[in-house]
Homo-oligomer: 126 residues x 2
């Protein structure tokens, strides 16, 4: 039997894999309809149009995002995850550039039983 934490890990891995292969439709399947994206250097982005536009904008073939989950806590159909992120992409000068920081996701389990990201906030280290 899959625990809630296992299910959240599975969903996170599948969302990250979709991001890294540039499959934005698959990324968006992981967000609730009224999700909110709160990233350093960007305005508040709400809902599928603004969120998918963000992921389209930052997508590039060499972009690789990694996550290191520190905590997951589940209460009923709500959970939160604290993680560190690291994104590598080749810059305009051809050299790989790394950006890293802290990430918190609020997860909601929806009526179909699947966990989805309701809040996704990234605070850059620099």
């Amino acid at each position: 039997m899959e625990t809630d934490r296992d299910a959240i890990h599975r969903r996170r891995k599948s969302c990250l894999a979709a991001m890294n292969r540039g499959d934005i439709d698959a990324v968006m399947e992981h967000y609730v309809e009224d999700a909110v994206l709160l990233f350093s250097g960007f305005p508040v982005l709400r809902g599928p149009e603004e969120i998918s536009a963000h992921w389209e904008q930052v997508d590039r073939p060499d972009r690789d995002a990694r996550l290191d989950t520190l905590d997951i806590r589940v209460v009923g159909d709500l959970a939160y995850e604290v993680a560190l992120y690291e994104v590598t992409a080749v810059g305009d000068d051809g050299e790989p550039q790394v950006s890293a920081g802290k990430n918190v996701v609020v997860w909601r389990r929806e009526d179909d039983g699947e966990w989805r990201l309701a809040v996704d906030i990234c605070a850059a280290d620099v």
Copy 2:
């Protein structure tokens, strides 16, 4: 009867007021023992020593922090709040400097019935 959302609003206001008057002991009473602070430009800060040291470090008489809460959701003894923040402080040149961004707090209701911040993450706008 005070609703959970009202209680969270009350706690947030009281935490912010303590911050703005530089009463770090009173600020810390609002965090759970294993709280984590995740701010743009800072490393992961965990627990009362690291968190109080941060608030001591940034405290100054003219510092004024304001919050605009966008969402609060409560599930049992867990809740999350999405807010915008704006901090004004006089810079070294004597001019007021404003920093603004997005904030998510994960709240936990503890055994004494009081809501406390378990995760506090701030993603700067720039």
